[in-house]
Assembly symmetry: C2
Homo-oligomer: 160 residues x 2
DNA sequence: CAGTATCCTGAACGATACTG
DNA sequence: CAGTATCGTTCAGGATACTG
């Protein structure tokens, strides 16, 4: 088991700056980072989304997730199980039957993630055009690389 | 847990599949994944959190984020800038002065992320104990590796 | 000060083969 | 069917050095 274990950066925190009201995700050891790393890795979110609709067997997930390797599906499921987000049920039948389902905790996570999904859907156009604008500006800079800047006056310059 | 129904605001391509209401993150090309990858990478969230409190200079961020390399801070800021989440202002003074601040879009993202932070804070104890239980069970299995299972009856077996 | 350029390592991941 | 074990590759990210 080489990679199921988190690296668990036990980082020494010596600074006692008084601004730690906003520190929720600044500390390495903070739980938020761990959870975020879990739900944001390549497959976890997909699996959670699928299991949110119904309980499924291993092979079903393997088919549905489309692109995941057997190994990564196993690893992902083990992590989610360890965190108490999914539950694994083994039926002692001749061809092994294992079913996965979201735990109640997993369900609440799934709803929490929804707000982010909604945000993304709401703002994807803005992001796309921001990217386009940025890339256009970069393109312009490349053409400009040797020339004098006609807009270089005295004020601050926005990079957009 | 029987009803996952993501509300999937208005973004539906004309697929006939009846359950594509839940497909928001199943598709590889979906925007959600891109955004999620951005906000969930190692540093973006930290930077956004810091900039949510006040605008900051490059070196300030380098100090505050604590652990980030110069390279990764640059990369992170460029990505966030490209996505229109932060704005970069260059003051044309003799020692270069560059300030970063959240855009209005970035502010909305930050609030959206809060729900996840709240979820994590609310459930971190549950997760911690789930992990402890899982690890304890694994430990027990290792001791049991060669012996007969006293609980192996007829029913399904939960792995927790 | 605020970067860019370059090199390098280790973790993540995929592919494959084997097993209860 | 539902995994585990092993190997090879890729690539994110750290360290370091240089620059306008």
């Amino acid at each position: 088991m080489e990679e199921g274990t988190s690296k668990s950066a036990s980082y020494s925190e010596g600074t006692e700056d008084p601004w730690d009201a906003c520190q929720w995700d600044v500390r390495e050891g903070c739980e938020v980072r761990q959870i975020l790393d879990r739900i944001a890795d390549k497959w976890s979110l997909l699996v959670v989304a699928l299991l949110a609709s119904r309980r499924m067997r291993f092979t079903e997930l393997l088919r549905e997730v489309d692109g995941v390797s057997q190994r990564m599906l196993t690893v992902t499921l083990r992590q989610l199980e360890r965190d108490g987000l999914v539950e694994r049920t083994v039926y002692p039948v001749v061809p092994p039957r294992v079913e996965y389902e979201l735990s109640s905790l997993g369900v609440t996570l799934h709803s929490a993630v929804q707000s982010l999904v909604v945000w993304t859907e709401t703002h994807q156009v803005e992001i796309a055009s921001a990217r386009a604008a940025y890339d256009r500006a970069q393109q312009a800079l490349e053409s400009d690389h040797g020339r004098a800047d006609p807009a270089s006056g005295a004020g601050a310059r926005r990079t957009r």
